[in-house]
Structure formats: structure tokens, C-alpha cells
């Protein structure tokens, strides 16, 4: 039997070795890791440009060791369009929260997707505006209490949570659209495959790819990390089903 040791797990090259500012139990960090792993897998760290949005993930440049442009709230897909049109041979991704992408930035995401811009969008849905203190988001679940829906989201006046991955999958310009969660080892492994696939779509020049990641925000949900994690399974996944809604690369 060989005693040689093989390294099977390491810190991604694309991620800096720094302390995180995210709250305990926040899943932004997990998603950062998956994005970094995808960049490493394709060896594109040196030719990737990230576009940060406004939300808890605004410090993208503090974690990823890549070139980064910071966009105004909601405008990351437009900024990324400008970047990608200049650097057509580079890898360009946006990383956006649900307030950023599904409320103030709806126009930009729909039209970047519809133009089929060759970018990858990582969309972190935590059913709330994390950074600003837990206000109601377009993804807030029916009856969910937030700081601006203190009696619970009333769908008759506040409307319904938007399912972005499904919505975008209806656009001709979209090559790949999927939803994942990072609440269990099994789901994380699946999320890793999907994020990698989304980057592969771009590396191969196949068009616009979109991954929605269901994410816990223990702080603004008023839960401990374990309870928040359990809520992803019990409340989020039933409304926001996991799966691939469009994959035009499939033969």
C-alpha cells in the first residue's frame, strides 16, 4: 500500500487568505468559495474581471484576488456589459444580491440577459436586504416578517416573491439558468457543479449564464445559524425550487 499523501482540499488560488466580515452562518462566504473554485478549475483567475454590486457582497475585491469594478446598486449587469464588450476574451461575472438584482436592477439584468451578453451572473437570494438591515426584498416570502413588513409580507399589497431563475429562463438570450442552495453538503456539491457549469458556458463562449443561490441571512432573519440553515430547506426551497431551468448547451 502506498503511503504517499495526495492533497485533496486546498484554499482556492482565486480567494485571498483573509478574515471574512460576513456574519456567523452567512452563506455569502460559501458562495464566494464556489465561485473561486470555478475560476480555479478553468485557470481563469488571471483573466477574470468581477463586477461587485451594492449589498453585503460589496467587498468582492477584498476576497477575490482578481480585477474588480464596483457598480452602482443594481447596475452590475450594465457595467459588466461595458467590461465584456471591451474584453471579449476575458471572463466577466457579476455577483448580486436579491435587492440589487431583483428590485432596483431588474431592468439591467433582464436586458443584459436578453442581449445574451457573454457573462456569468451569480445571484444570491437571501429573501432580504441584508446590508441595510433586513428590509423586505422582492424575494421575501409570503407572510415573512422583515423590518419593513413587520406584520409579514402581505401578497395582496406587496406582491409575490419573484422567481428570477425561472423568469430569465424564458428569454431567448439566456444560455443557462439554474437555482441552487448551499445549506447541506449535498446541495453544496451540486451548487459547485452548477457554478462551474455557468463559468464553463462563458469559457466556451456559449453566452449568458445565471445561477441563483439560496442563501441564509441569520442576522436579519433573527435566527441562529443552524435555524437559518434549516429555514432554507423548510421555507425557501419549497417556494424557490432547485434545478436547471434552461440549458441550451445540452445536446
Amino acid at each position: 500500500m502506498s503511503t504517499e499523501m495526495k492533497q485533496v482540499f486546498s484554499h482556492p488560488d482565486s480567494l485571498k487568505d483573509v478574515q471574512t466580515h460576513f456574519c456567523p452562518g452567512c452563506q455569502h462566504g460559501t458562495t464566494h468559495r464556489l465561485v473561486a473554485d470555478a475560476m480555479d478549475a478553468f485557470g481563469v483567475q488571471d483573466r477574470t474581471i468581477g463586477v461587485a454590486s451594492v449589498g453585503c457582497s460589496v467587498f468582492l475585491y477584498g476576497y477575490f484576488d482578481i480585477d474588480v469594478v464596483e457598480a452602482p446598486h443594481g447596475r452590475a449587469p450594465a457595467v459588466a456589459t461595458g467590461v465584456k464588450r471591451v474584453h471579449q476574451d476575458k471572463i466577466v461575472f457579476t455577483y448580486q444580491g436579491d435587492g440589487d438584482l431583483a428590485a432596483i436592477g431588474t431592468s439591467e439584468i433582464i436586458h443584459a440577459a436578453n442581449r445574451g451578453e457573454g457573462m456569468t451572473v451569480i445571484f444570491v437570494n437571501n429573501t432580504t436586504y441584508g446590508m441595510t438591515g433586513g428590509q423586505m426584498a422582492p424575494t421575501t416570502l409570503p407572510s415573512q416578517k422583515t423590518s419593513t413588513s413587520p406584520y409579514g409580507r402581505n401578497v395582496s399589497t406587496d406582491g409575490y416573491p419573484i422567481r428570477m431563475a425561472e423568469l430569465l429562463s424564458n428569454l431567448e438570450g439566456v444560455t443557462y439558468s439554474a437555482r441552487v442552495a448551499v445549506n447541506s453538503p449535498k446541495n453544496i456539491l451540486q451548487a459547485a457543479r452548477v457554478v462551474k457549469k455557468a463559468f464553463e458556458v462563458q469559457v466556451k463562449g456559449q453566452g449568458f449564464s445565471f445561477v441563483e443561490v439560496l442563501s441564509a441571512c441569520p442576522t436579519n432573519w433573527g435566527m441562529n445559524p443552524l435555524k437559518a440553515n434549516a429555514r432554507v430547506e423548510s421555507e425557501m426551497i419549497p417556494y424557490f425550487p432547485l434545478g436547471t431551468f434552461k440549458d441550451s448547451t445540452a445536446a
Binding site: I49, A52, V68, A78, V83, E108
Partner: protein, 354 residues
């Protein structure tokens, strides 16, 4: 002999931009500037340019931000209501020290207003139209030739200082046709390398284009840095046209299309024997403060004419010698509100003193 063409002001902007090497245009249709995207969408395929008709002015300015962050010479154009929508993006560009050209072919307002020539966006342009206390470079052409020339200059100044630049025209300058002598663009040659632009880090340290500064003292220092650039612009990059000032008893000041009418009125006044001169700011930011101070150390009477109810006149008043008198004549923009030369001549007579 150099070739002379009869072109529209808006087309001259597009021609100047292409000649200056701009290969990225992002915009949204609005009268009276749509000739610019129309011309560019027609000509860009011949030069390998990227033209995007965006979903909104907000998206356009952010596409410009992205292209500019990559170091590309890029532009957008719009008219007043669309420029209002761009203000957040312009503020981000100013904060991120990104160059880029924003063309505003102004129309009248407020609100939907009308499509007539207007100078009512002066404040918005020169005082930092968005949040956070910044300035952009603002150039105001008064002819089709200047639409061409100043477009080139705007790109150069913007690249040199890493400050967004605006070409401030209006529907008269944008829509009228007159002779243009196109000339090749000559790069200043000493423009700083864009060693801040993102491209994928490729072995070098990470580059970040951002306007967020949270560390203790960081944002204050950043704002002082921006302030020093604005001071440098005031020291080095002021542009204005002065004429007939030597013996003048009254100096008329106006910018853009109003200056054209003022020039005719001044000529008529001279024919009557009135000693009247012209001081026309071409750079509205940086404003020709020193030129006004120097001129009014001799000429003590200034008549400021604008197509609004008084905006540039505030900067004139701040700049002139303390014992100079500043008079204002303006009309709010709208159909039929463009003053006639005779109207301005009457104002000249009214304020003239030998």
C-alpha cells in the same frame, strides 16, 4: 485646400468622437440628440466600434462606466431628462476617477418641458449634478466646428485628469448645419498610461475600480485628491474666447448658442459706436474666473445673457472685480424664447455707459 463639409452639429460630435478613437458608444434615444447614435450606429461597423442601444440612460452610463474601467475611450449622449437619469452613474465615475464623455444636447424643462434649446442645465452640469460633491469637465461649443473640436478635447482632458467630461450643447447647436473642416485627431502624446484599468490581473497585482472608501480618513483623503484635481483644472485648462475687449466699456458674456446671438448684437452695437466686447466661456468647468477678474479690472460693466433665468451669472458674479456691475438678461427656455439680436442690442444699450 482643406475639405469643408456641411454637417449638423450632432453629426460633428459623432465624427469628432470617431476621429478621436472612441470605439464604444452606449445610449438611449431622445430628441434632440438622436443624430449622434444614428450616425455612430451607421459608421461604427466600418471602424470596428461597439454600439449599444441600451434599455435606458441609467444602463448607458453604467455601460460607459464599465468600458471606461477597462481603459477604453467611450461615450454616451443624451438630452436633459436622460442626463438626469445618468447622474448617479456620473457620480460613481467621478468617485472612481473614470474618464468618459457625456454629451448633453440640452432641451427645455423642467420635467418633460419641450425640445427647444435650453441652457437651464448649467447648474446641473457645472456644480456636480449628482450626489457627493464633485465636478466634471464641462465644455460648451458655439459652432458646428467646435462640436467637432471640443469633442476631441473633452476626451483628452478626461483621460489626462481621470475626470468625466461633458459636452454641453443644445438643440440649436445640435440641429443646425454649417461648415465643418474636419481634421485628423492628434493625440497629445503625453497622456498618462491607464495603469489603473482592469483587464484580468495576468500576473500583476489586483486592480480595483471603486468609489467606496471606508477606512479611517480614506474618503476624506480621496475627496481632497479630487479637489486638488479640480484646482489643477482651474489653473491649467480654462478655455474662453475674448474679443473687442481693449476699448470696451461693456463686456457681454454668454456661452453656447446664446453667444452666437450675442456676437451679432455686439457687432450691431459696434456699428452704433458702442464699445462692447465679448467674453465667452468655452470651459464652463473650469470656469474662466481669472479672465473675468482681469477683464473687469478695466471694464466695469458686464452683461450676462443666458437661455434660463440666471445660472452662469452666479459664477460671473463670483469671479468679477468687486467694483464691477453685473447685469443679467435671460429668458426661460421654451418655444419662441430664443432672444433676437435686436433684443440683446436693446439690453446692451440699456446697460451701456461711456
Amino acid at each position: 485646400m482643406q475639405k469643408r463639409l456641411l454637417v449638423k452639429g450632432n453629426e460633428a460630435v459623432a465624427m469628432g468622437a470617431i476621429e478621436a478613437g472612441c470605439r464604444y458608444y452606449f445610449g438611449y434615444p431622445i430628441t434632440p440628440q438622436s443624430d449622434i447614435p444614428e450616425y455612430i450606429s451607421r459608421e461604427f461597423p466600418n471602424v470596428g466600434g461597439v454600439f449599444i442601444q441600451a434599455e435606458s440612460e441609467i444602463a448607458s452610463i453604467n455601460m460607459l462606466l464599465g468600458a471606461s474601467a477597462c481603459g477604453a475611450r467611450a461615450m454616451t449622449s443624451s438630452s436633459s431628462p436622460g442626463i438626469s437619469l445618468k447622474q448617479e452613474g456620473i457620480s460613481y465615475m467621478a468617485g472612481s476617477e473614470l474618464p468618459g464623455l457625456i454629451v448633453n444636447i440640452c432641451r427645455s424643462g423642467p420635467g418633460l418641458g419641450g425640445i427647444d434649446a435650453s441652457q437651464a442645465d448649467y447648474f446641473q452640469a457645472v456644480k456636480g449634478g449628482g450626489h457627493g460633491g464633485y465636478h466634471i469637465i464641462v465644455l460648451a461649443p458655439d459652432s458646428v466646428q467646435e462640436m467637432y473640436d471640443l469633442t476631441m478635447l473633452a476626451f483628452d482632458l478626461s483621460d489626462r485628469y481621470r475626470v468625466p467630461a461633458m459636452l454641453l450643447g443644445d438643440s440649436v447647436i445640435g440641429q443646425m448645419k454649417e461648415a465643418l473642416t474636419p481634421h485628423p485627431y492628434i493625440s497629445p502624446g503625453d497622456l498618462p498610461a491607464k495603469d489603473w484599468a482592469v483587464s484580468g490581473k495576468d500576473g500583476r497585482p489586483q486592480r480595483v475600480v471603486k468609489s467606496l472608501f471606508l477606512g479611517d480618513g480614506e474618503l476624506e483623503e480621496h475627496n481632497w485628491k479630487l479637489h486638488r484635481k479640480y484646482q489643477e483644472l482651474k489653473d491649467k485648462e480654462v478655455r474662453y474666447e475674448a474679443s473687442d475687449l481693449d476699448d470696451a466699456q461693456l463686456v457681454v458674456t454668454a456661452f453656447g448658442s446664446t453667444a452666437r446671438i450675442a456676437k451679432t448684437a455686439i457687432r450691431m452695437a459696434r456699428e452704433e459706436g458702442l464699445k462692447v466686447g465679448l467674453l465667452r466661456p468655452i470651459s464652463l468647468f473650469p470656469f474662466p474666473e481669472k479672465a473675468f477678474l482681469e477683464t473687469t479690472s478695466k471694464v466695469k460693466r458686464v452683461l450676462c445673457v443666458e437661455l434660463n433665468t440666471g445660472q452662469m451669472v452666479e459664477d460671473v458674479r463670483l469671479s468679477v472685480a468687486r467694483d464691477a456691475d453685473v447685469f443679467f438678461y435671460g429668458r426661460p427656455p421654451g418655444a419662441g424664447s430664443l432672444p433676437t439680436p435686436e433684443e440683446l442690442l436693446a439690453q446692451i444699450r440699456k446697460h451701456y455707459k461711456d
